[in-house]
Amino acid sequence: MEDAIVLSYAISGEDFTRAGEASSDVKKKLKQMGVSPEAVRKVAIAMYEGEINMVIHANGGEITVTITPEEICMVLDDVGPGIPDVDLAMQAGYSTAPDEIRSLGFGAGMGLPNMKKYTDSMEIDTRIGEGTKITMVVKI
């Protein structure tokens, strides 16, 4: 059995110019691997949303992507403020993004709902004041 491919990306906080670099890189690799376009699309959308969330809310963090021939697992780990009410955050349209972020076209309150929608499973482990760890899996 071949080893899984593990890719790590440091996400820098409040740097919108670099947001999306990690998801683009993963996308390119998945296409080289011959993963179905539909799965590539799901990973790209979910990961980009997560990346942006880390930039906006958590001052960056780290994303680890583990690829096996069966699935793509994305772990988004940050040391941000945590999510006080996960159920509320999961509601479409709910957002705590400040105005200056919204003026950039972000903060529509679709981040977490979209991440759930485009993945086969999503787990949120969050602690107030300590950080959030989101684990998303897309089956190949």
């Binding site: 491919i5 080289q32 691997m33 376009p37 539909e38 590539v40 790209a44």
Partner: protein
């Protein structure tokens, strides 16, 4: 016709094996092997970037020569809107159109007139296909080819309408047959093109089985012939122009989109910018966007490599020319409806896949990751691949070897020479005791290994010669 037909070619005689083209190719389709550039036909999208950057003019486009006009009994010229932007102080397209007749063409059909029909059909398509929004323009063949090999998720968003050149060719051919009664093969439909990408399109079109364009001439070849004839065109020449503002505007970036009467559009030009937009579209970063116009050349078609004028100057000239024209002068009508829609779809071609099966690709991707960690990460291009990562991909595909990396080779040589120095020091110490024979033998071994490493380098140079 080969589905990977190309009009961008290499002239091996002129190629010096430098790294300019490999670094600029947007799909990493070029490698320098044996001292000469090679274009991977599966990756190449005929954008012409390499023609633009090659300092030795070793890249060129294949297109037809003017003499090809003699092979037909009746010829029709299809001038691209970009053609009008090449001339100084042109205030009436009729001067160019009549000069084309003086050049020997029997008739002209403006691509800009067909463009207005495509604009009209696009407006209808946007209204009736809201589920496909944002719709991506398919007028630039390089963009269509890029999406075909790299953005499978965006294929359903492509505008399934023929580009203006095809619509113009189909209508021009139909009119010529009706007018002359000649068989179709005696009629030559000549497109006067700003770029090699359209040459590729005419030979191996996407979206339609066979193009009605018979020959493609370069604007830069037709330009000097037209200049003298334009002086001979009289003020009371025939009024044959059939395009308005919308049609003429297609020659520059944003022109196609401006004919759609919506503000919710994006227009990007230059292949690198186009790729960034497609990446973002794939990640669904844009909302409320109706139309995406993409042109591989900077500035749009005016930036094509077969033109003569600076693209930005050309754009000013185009804007001046359109100023006094009516908004539109050509409409779809019945015959247009028959030739505008695509008749075939576009299939995803996963050419960047590393292996034949998913398991093989996965295993190779793993190897690429491991190799990338070993390579220096300088992306110097000396191995002939544009980046270290591209070299790693070539290695796992079996098209290159690790010692192609000159840094790896240099490091090996350094290690060996350091060990030799240590041994030599050792030897001079022992000489006083008179027992250095074994060390001398070792030293000889090392020197042998150094020459072997050097031979690897020499071999490569031999290959290049």
């Amino acid at each position: 016709m080969d589905k990977f037909y190309h009009s961008v070619r290499l002239d091996a005689e002129l190629c010096k094996g430098c790294i300019n083209c490999i670094k600029r190719c947007p799909t990493e389709a070029i490698r320098v092997r044996g001292g000469k550039a090679q274009i991977n036909s599966k990756f190449c999208i005929d954008c012409g970037e390499c023609i633009r950057v090659c300092p030795h003019h070793a890249k060129h486009a294949v297109y037809d020569k003017l003499e090809a006009m003699k092979q037909y009994q009746y010829t029709v010229a299809l001038p691209a809107p970009t053609l009008y932007s090449q001339f100084n102080n042109l205030d009436d397209v009729n001067i160019v159109l009549n000069a084309l007749l003086l050049m020997g063409f029997d008739d002209v059909f403006e691509v800009s007139a067909a463009a207005e029909m495509v604009s009209e059909a696009t407006r209808e398509y946007l209204e009736s296909h809201r589920e496909s929004l944002p719709v991506i323009s398919t007028a630039c063949p390089s963009v269509v080819r890029l999406i075909r090999v790299r953005f499978p998720n965006l294929i359903p968003h492509m505008l399934p309408l023929n580009p203006p050149v095809e619509v113009a060719a189909a209508l021009a051919a139909k009119h010529a047959v009706e007018k002359t009664g000649l068989p179709r093969n005696q009629i030559g439909i000549f497109f006067i093109s700003p770029c090699p990408s359209k040459v590729t399109y005419a030979k191996a079109p996407l979206g339609t089985e066979k193009s009605q364009v018979d020959r493609v001439l370069a604007i830069k070849d037709v330009y000097p012939k037209l200049l003298s004839r334009m002086k001979a065109v009289r003020d009371d020449c025939q009024d044959i122009g059939k395009a308005g503002k919308i049609g003429i505007s297609w020659g520059r970036s944003g022109g196609e989109a401006s004919g759609l009467f919506t503000e919710n559009y994006l227009a990007a030009d230059g292949i690198e910018n186009v790729i960034r937009v497609l990446e973002d579209l794939e990640d669904q970063k844009f909302t409320n966007l109706k139309f995406v116009e993409l042109n591989a050349c900077p500035g749009g078609c005016v930036g094509g490599v077969l033109t003569v004028e600076n693209p930005y100057v050309a754009e000013v000239k185009l804007n001046r020319l359109r100023k006094y024209l009516p908004v539109t002068r050509s409409h779809v009508e019945e015959e247009g409806q028959q030739v505008i829609p695509w008749t075939t779809g576009v299939q995803y071609e996963p050419v960047f896949r590393l292996g034949n099966t998913m398991m093989e690709s996965f295993s190779r991707l793993n190897q690429v990751e491991r190799l990338c960690k070993k390579l220096p990460g300088l992306d110097c291009g000396s191995c002939g691949a544009p980046t270290c990562k591209a070299l790693a991909e070539d290695i796992v595909r079996g098209e290159a070897v690790e010692t192609d990396c000159v840094y790896n080779l240099r490091e090996n040589l350094h290690k060996l020479s350091e060990e030799v120095a240590v041994l030599a020091g050792d030897l001079s110490g022992r000489d006083r005791n008179g027992s250095g024979e074994e060390t001398v033998k070792l030293l000889k071994d090392y020197i042998q290994r150094i020459s072997e490493e050097m031979a690897v380098l020499d071999n490569r140079e031999d290959e290049e010669e």
